[in-house]
């Protein structure tokens, strides 16, 4: 069966979405010095870089931006085997900070669960907020995002592909149907 692929969000719309999300994060959090952005490897890293840049413009201060890899904390290591590891690197101490966890697509919620456990190994943030570009539903855990770029209704066998310039892409979101 041939798969079909269609662009759902183009570069202009995606730019507006990201700008709005940055403003929402700034609106919710009054003290920029408390905020740390953490992108989940790998899809969330480009989005975190973009939002970090936008928030730095809004606030006029550089917002620390880091990455977290969830490979050691996944709950499916037995089913899916070991995956390639990417750096967990957060430039500041996250204790008592507001960590905005960022991913490109929110699906089952299992990656976010693993990312929160991974953050707990690094310290005790004041709170963790969740920002996702696309919420495609189909949650398997009680996890709810604080900031959403766009909600999409999808079927389990579909794939959402976010392509950001930070990762060498073209700033689009596409939907692939099997």
């Amino acid at each position: 069966m041939a798969s079909t692929f269609s662009i759902v969000i183009g570069p202009d719309a995606l730019s507006r979405i990201l700008t709005r999300m940055a403003h929402e994060i700034a609106e919710r959090n009054h003290d920029p010095s408390e905020v740390v952005l953490v992108g989940i490897q790998r899809g969330g890293v480009g989005a975190a870089d973009r939002l970090g840049g936008l928030l730095s413009q809004i606030w006029g201060v550089t917002v620390p931006t880091g990455t977290v890899d969830v490979g050691m904390h996944r709950d499916d290591l037995d089913q899916n085997g070991a995956r390639e590891m990417h750096p967990t690197a957060i430039p500041v101490d996250i204790n008592s900070k507001i960590v905005v966890l960022i991913d490109d697509v929110l699906f089952s919620g299992r990656t976010v669960r693993a990312a929160m456990d991974s953050l707990a190994d690094l310290g005790r943030p004041k709170c963790i907020q969740l920002a996702v570009l696309i919420d495609r539903g189909q949650r398997e855990l009680p996890i709810h995002p604080d900031f959403v770029g766009k909600t999409m209704k999808t079927a389990p066998d579909e794939r959402v592909r976010v392509s950001l310039k930070e990762d060498g892409g073209d700033d689009t979101v596409g939907l692939e149907k099997a």
């Binding site: 050691m72 070991a82 995956r83 590891m85």
Partner: protein
């Protein structure tokens, strides 16, 4: 991701890409060891058995701590205190351990091929922690990890392995790993312990120590293994030290940025001058730290490389 193996039995059968996967994974685990909380849940609920039929302290402790840091349960099983003394075969011992639902069995044995033998009938993953004079894969992996960390690369480096090559599984695993990653390997020691036949593995064999270390980027010293020598291979320890020991006079004729490695335990004053072992060019303790990260990576990878997971 180039790792699909359920066992780690030797370096000889690994590809360069597989070795690099272990090194990259180990880098992430090294970062875990530098945190306040040094433990991750990756092997939670798994049982790891240290089956050490030959005495070992450093390797066993390193594997044990690695397994603990991955949240696995660990059983230590040594030859001295085991039913092997009562005449049980290795096969029966390992099957008994497996009947206790062990997931990963780490084997050290004086017989070449013992881990390979176990891997043929055990459902558990098998990791070779040293088999006879054959291989010691995690030692080679931690050595190349340390070299890559210090020098930024492996390919093109001159690595001299100095000492008892003939009886050394560390040397054999090291030769495989280094040559696969593109290093130029020189072997040096008494001709009885470093026969020319090793040239067939793609190494240079030299019996003059000054020539062997002159252009070296890395000098990896091996211990003279009294316990493995079936007959006298050189006249005396004193003669070995005077002809092949690494001392200040010999170091003065090496590259200024040469690094000294040693798998331990060190015989101070035999293969290396005490001050050199503690000097700024020695990365001997870095090797110990890196060994932990590499063994965490290997445990993590073989656990993920189980046949059940590959079937999906």
């Amino acid at each position: 991701m180039s790792w699909t193996r359920k066992h780690l039995l030797d370096i000889q059968s690994l590809s360069a890409a597989e070795i690099e996967t272990v090194l990259d994974t180990a880098r992430s685990f090294k970062a875990v060891g530098e945190r306040a909380i040094k433990k991750v849940p990756a092997l939670r609920g798994k049982t790891v058995v240290n089956l050490f039929i030959e005495p070992s302290t450093r390797t066993r402790i390193s594997f044990e701590l690695a397994a603990h840091r991955l949240s696995a349960d660990v059983i230590n099983f040594s030859a001295e205190a085991s039913s092997l003394r009562k005449g049980e075969t290795l096969k029966d011992t390992s099957r008994t351990l497996e009947a206790l639902n062990a997931d990963i069995i780490i084997v050290r044995h004086s017989a070449t091929g013992a881990p390979h033998f176990l891997s043929r009938f055990l459902a558990a993953s098998v990791i070779n922690a040293g088999d006879g004079a054959h291989e010691h894969p995690t030692q080679a992996l931690l050595d190349v990890f340390t070299i890559r960390e210090c020098k930024g690369k492996i390919a093109g480096l001159n690595v001299t392995i100095l000492g008892d090559i003939l009886y050394s599984r560390v040397a054999r695993s090291g030769i495989w790993a280094l040559t696969k990653l593109g290093a130029r390997v020189t072997l040096c020691g008494p001709s009885t312990l470093v026969p020319k036949v090793f040239e067939k593995l793609g190494c240079r064999v030299v019996h003059d120590v000054e020539e062997a270390v002159r252009e070296a980027d890395i000098i990896n010293l091996l211990r003279i293994q009294h316990e493995r020598q079936r007959r006298t291979m050189f006249p005396s320890i004193g003669e070995y030290t005077s002809l092949f020991g690494l001392n200040k006079a010999r170091m003065a004729k090496t590259r200024p940025d040469v690094l000294i490695m040693h798998p331990g335990p060190i015989n101070r004053g035999v293969e290396i001058d005490s001050s050199l072992a503690d000097g700024p060019q020695s990365v001997i303790l870095n090797q110990v730290t890196n060994g932990l990260a590499v063994r965490m990576a290997v445990l993590f990878l073989v656990n993920g490389g189980s046949e059940a997971s590959l079937a999906q």
